[in-house]
């Protein structure tokens, strides 16, 4: 395996505001908005982009090979382009490798989701194995509820732990200028919100929003021209758990741990708690705690302590995925948020420390079957 010397940098990033139901914008407008923001303030333009990797969903878009509808706005005309049908962080994984291999200097990664124009229920239910699992009515809400129940049972926790993590996320999101939150719910609001999939309540589940995000990756040669202190992708890896929900390990995410372990090895990161910032994705409050544990930030079952810890990395200062889940771009937004923090450009939710390194996490699939972990840093 190669050494962890950084060779690929994130030289620009951009995102739309994250809002449920952007009636003012079509998919193409969301993508254009994120790209425009990304190229503000960097001496790069679409002409400098060698290739485009995009992430989106035919099912959410209601359109086959839906990338074909957006090639123009993505600047992919007469360029190398590919569609990864998974969260945008996997598209970064692809683009990272392409630049790492020396086959290109500058790559644009685009992720977008407009769940307000689709049925998020159908999006997940149609992922389920069609013969034995789908007829049971399994969807992402049921899957998240079953997992949360197993989690609480296995580690002898109660619902209060879930309300607590959701409340922190919503408060962070309310401070984030890029997430539209009318009023952050309190712990009591969350604990009293409507039951959806026991033990999960409405405000413990991720809220679908419309949005897009982009990052621009560049080779070391280009990155050093643009910045004296580029932000490198130090290592990334991904891992898929098995599909059958009943066969998965209850109360933990071994696939997330597997992805983290390889990503840390590639990044020469020994102690994950030594990074300054962590941005994770999750479909539920329980899922978020399980991710924090799988990333090695706490012992199993003790993820809630990571949220409350006085020391250690800042966790989801963006608010994470519970208040804002632009499906297919959610993990990519974690990366753009981490990049903004590292550049000290986050605005009103800028953390009060120098962000020199960060762990970024994305998930996909029913019951968070798929995980991707990236380590970035100066």
């Amino acid at each position: 395996m190669m050494a962890s010397s950084p060779k690929v940098a994130i030289v620009a990033s951009g995102q739309t505001r994250m809002e449920p139901g952007r009636a003012d914008a079509q998919h193409i407008d969301l993508i254009a908005e994120a790209i425009r923001v990304a190229f503000l303030g960097v001496p790069l333009s679409m002409r400098d982009v060698d290739f485009v990797i995009d992430a989106g969903s035919d099912v959410l878009d209601g359109r086959s090979i839906s990338n074909c509808g957006f090639l123009g706005v993505m600047g992919a005309h007469h360029k190398e382009e590919s569609r990864v049908e998974e969260d945008g962080l996997w598209a970064v994984w692809y683009a990272w490798q392409k630049v790492l291999a020396g086959h290109a200097d500058v790559g644009l990664v685009v992720g977008y989701g407009k769940p307000s124009e689709a049925s998020i229920h159908d999006f997940y239910a149609s992922q389920s194995e069609p013969f034995y699992q789908r007829p049971l009515g399994l969807n992402h809400l049921v899957a998240a509820g079953l997992q949360a129940s197993q989690y609480l049972h296995r580690w002898r926790l109660d619902e209060a732990a879930l309300a607590r993590v959701a409340a922190v996320d919503w408060a962070n999101a309310a401070a984030n200028p890029r997430v539209v939150v009318e009023e952050a719910p309190s712990i009591a609001d969350i604990a009293g919100s409507g039951p959806v999939s026991p033990p999960l309540r409405e405000l413990m589940l991720s809220r679908p929003v419309d949005g897009a995000a982009v990052v621009v990756l560049a080779s070391e040669r280009v990155a050093r021209k643009l910045s004296a202190e580029p932000i490198w992708i130090r290592g990334m890896w991904a891992a898929m758990d098995e599909h059958s929900l009943g066969a998965r390990e209850p109360g933990s995410f071994p696939a997330c741990a597997a992805a983290a372990s390889r990503a840390y090895a590639l990044s020469a990161l020994g102690d994950p708690n030594s990074v300054d910032l962590v941005e994770v994705s999750a479909h539920s409050a329980a899922g978020e705690l399980m991710v924090l544990e799988a990333l090695g930030l706490s012992e199993p079952g003790a993820g809630a302590r990571v949220i409350d810890a006085a020391s250690g990395p800042a966790i989801n200062p963006s608010g994470g995925a519970l208040p804002a889940d632009p499906v297919m771009a959610t993990g990519l937004v974690r990366l753009t948020e981490a990049h903004l923090q590292a550049m000290r450009e986050a605005g009103t939710n800028q953390v009060n420390r120098d962000v020199r390194s960060a762990i970024v996490h994305a998930t996909g699939g029913l019951g968070m079957q798929n995980h991707c972990v990236a380590v970035i840093g100066r």
């Binding site: 395996m1 190669m2 485009v52 969903s57 035919d58 099912v59 209601g62 359109r63 086959s64 090979i65 990338n67 074909c68 509808g69 090639l71 123009g72 992919a76 005309h77 007469h78 360029k79 190398e80 382009e81 590919s82 569609r83 990864v84 049908e85 998974e86 994984w93 692809y94 990272w96 490798q97 392409k98 790492l100 291999a101 020396g102 086959h103 999006f123 997940y124 149609s126 992922q127 194995e129 069609p130 013969f131 991904a238 891992a239 898929m240 758990d241 098995e242 599909h243 059958s244 066969a247 071994p254 696939a255 597997a258 992805a259 590639l266 996909g364 699939g365 029913l366 079957q369 798929n370």
Partner: protein
């Protein structure tokens, strides 16, 4: 410097109009097991998996790679699906190529499949078009394809007879390919007299619709000789796009194909494709596309395709055989086709193609594409 990348194993399923004995996962597994067996490897040796398949509407399972993971034995590995229309098999290989070339993975399994008997193909394709500005006018893929051909008839001489020769050649070649399920001898007269579907496209210009899968194992260059005595080296691979509704889009030549060929040839040191390639495997969704690709790939000058097929040069005993496997006319599981072309090229340059082997084939050209004729990929494979 990137690592060299080799194909060390290939596998194809039994392709058929309808495979009722397996589901999608079983189909993908059949190809994966055959590729692993060919490479004498197991899933424990594989670092990463790339799945490629057509639009999910083709078979009504969203993000199907997640279901396939159990059947592929890929638990705890990266499993990523690339979808790029009809050429997605080659687009998937291009992603896997980067995983190996970058050094982040040593061995990668690519599985491409479509089970077209389980979905409504032309309905699915119709959803390609813009919901507000396209679907009112366009249905399926045949209408615009017919328009392309019609334009090329006058300007480039891509006559119905010339396209019929492609159909005759590829149908005949399929007889010697054990994986081709369409074994039907056709004559030029029969093709010309077959019922028009969207004129000038006629029934026998059109390949079958198939269930099928293909898998390959890629290995890092320094490890490949340890895995297999005769690796097939991917010298270069590219996949280009052309934006929708481009006012300047040419109906005559495929610009993304020309761009992909130019870049791939440059990386692979190809300056005279007609002379340097021993065999070509390309994806002909309709017969006439093959004529267009002769020109786009530089096997002849623009306007020279009809003469090239008439000369017999692209027959199996010609100097530049094209689709000795029978191409899509033998089997057409769309999402797998691009990878099948790549696998067939690997078989040819390693002398393992059996009854349709081109003697002494050393360097092969691969083409595949999709979308509304706007996504085009090219690869060069050498012994």
């Amino acid at each position: 410097m990137p690592y060299d990348v080799a194909i060390v194993g290939t596998g194809q399923t039994e392709h058929a109009r309808r495979r009722t004995d397996v589901d999608q996962a079983g189909l993908a597994r059949e190809a994966a097991l055959r590729a692993l067996a060919d490479a004498e490897l197991s899933m424990a040796d594989v670092d990463s998996v790339v799945v490629a398949s057509g639009p999910v509407l083709f078979a009504a399972v969203n993000q199907p790679e997640k279901w396939l993971t159990d059947a592929l034995g890929a638990r705890m590995k990266p499993v990523v699906r690339v979808t790029s229309g009809g050429g997605t098999g080659l687009a998937g290989a291009a992603f896997a190529f980067q995983q190996v070339a970058s050094g982040i993975a040593e061995k990668v399994l690519v599985v491409a499949y479509d089970k077209l008997s389980e979905g409504a193909l032309q309905y699915s394709i119709s959803t390609l078009y813009d919901p507000f500005w396209g679907r009112e006018f366009a249905v399926g893929i045949m209408g615009f394809s017919a328009a392309y051909w019609r334009a090329r008839m006058d300007e480039l001489g891509h006559t119905e007879e010339a396209a019929a020769r492609v159909s005759v050649k590829n149908h005949a070649n399929a007889f010697d390919n054990p994986y081709a399920h369409m074994k039907k001898a056709v004559t030029i007269e029969e093709v010309l007299a077959s019922p028009p579907l969207a004129w000038p496209i006629k029934l026998l210009d059109v390949p079958p619709i198939s269930d099928g899968a293909c898998a390959i194992v890629l290995a890092r260059g320094d490890l490949a000789p340890k895995v297999c005595s005769r690796p097939a080296w991917i010298r270069a691979i590219s996949y280009y796009a052309e934006a929708e509704n481009g006012a300047g889009r040419s109906l005559l030549q495929s610009e993304p194909l020309q761009l992909a060929a130019r870049r791939t040839y440059r990386l692979a040191g190809i300056t005279n494709p007609r002379r340097q390639f021993d065999v070509v495997e390309l994806q002909e969704p309709y017969s006439y596309f093959e004529l267009s690709y002769y020109e786009g790939l530089g096997l002849c000058a623009p306007g020279g395709a009809a003469r090239l097929i008439e000369s017999g040069a692209t027959e199996r005993d010609g100097d530049i055989p094209v689709n000795p496997s029978g191409g899509c006319m033998g089997a057409n599981p769309i999402g797998a086709v691009g990878l099948i072309r790549l696998a067939e090229a690997a078989l040819q340059v390693t002398g393992k193609a059996g009854a349709h082997q081109i003697e002494g084939a050393h360097r092969a050209l691969v083409q595949s594409g999709g979308g509304w004729a706007n996504l085009r990929g090219v690869a060069v494979v050498c012994a």
